[in-house]
């Protein structure tokens, strides 16, 4: 019973990631694609949580934190690139 529920949850996350992938492919503007990528990163985090429950191990729990941090930083970098055109600004030469 529990195994069936966990597998169903994993399949549902796979379906959600596939639908976001469709939005990345057809997305009309760049921010659409970035939002869909952010959603994929966040869903990947929860898929890893389900896998670590399914395998009954606690070895994958660092991966959750690392993926969450990487997804956040990449979204910030993309939004700054869209807004200003550069990611890391230079210092003003005075």
């Amino acid at each position: 019973m529990i195994n069936i529920m966990l597998s169903a949850a994993l399949v549902l996350f796979g379906v959600a990631i596939l639908i976001s992938l469709y939005r990345i492919i057809i997305g009309p503007s760049l921010p659409d694609r970035v939002i869909a990528l952010d959603m994929i990163g966040v869903h990947l985090v929860s898929a890893i949580a389900i896998i670590s429950v399914l395998f009954h191990t606690t070895a994958f729990l660092e991966v959750i934190l690392i993926l969450a941090i990487l997804s956040f930083i990449s979204t910030i970098a993309f939004s700054k690139y869209i807004e200003r055109g550069v990611i890391i600004e230079r210092k003003h030469d005075s």
């Binding site: 921010p31 939002i35 966040v42 929860s46 389900i50 934190l65 969450a68």
Partner: protein, 123 residues
């Protein structure tokens, strides 16, 4: 059916509800007309999906092997703090890059405010 089995079942039920929320948010991101409504779907409900799933994993490890995972708690707090911030930043960048609103939009109040500001700075 003892207490540990029931707690385990509840933890897995949390994860299943989280997965259903993830599919709902994915349907929202494919069906909504413009980027602002899409970010509304993709930020709020996917955050709720991740929070439910990580909470289910935390409860599962507590009840089965008695392992209180601080990393999972930190992950929950981190996702809860940063995911709305990321949604706000990307929506703001989209508005500044002049991505069009949907055709059914009735009025755009932010454009009025921004025009007012530019006019007062110009004078």
């Amino acid at each position: 059916m003892n207490v540990s089995t029931i707690a385990e079942f509840i933890a897995v039920l949390f994860m299943l509800i989280g997965a259903i929320m993830a599919v709902i948010s994915a349907i929202g991101i494919i069906r909504f007309p413009d980027i602002y409504t899409r970010s509304h779907a993709g930020t709020k409900s996917s955050t709720l999906a991740v929070l439910l799933t990580l909470l289910g994993a935390f409860l599962y490890f507590v009840t089965t092997i008695g392992f209180v995972s601080v990393r999972l708690l930190l992950g929950i707090i981190f996702v809860f703090i940063t995911s709305p911030v990321a949604g706000h930043l990307i929506t703001r960048a989209a508005y500044r890059a002049k991505v069009k609103l949907a055709d059914t939009t009735i009025e755009d109040e932010l454009a009025d405010v921004l025009n007012e500001k530019e006019r007062s700075e110009g004078k």
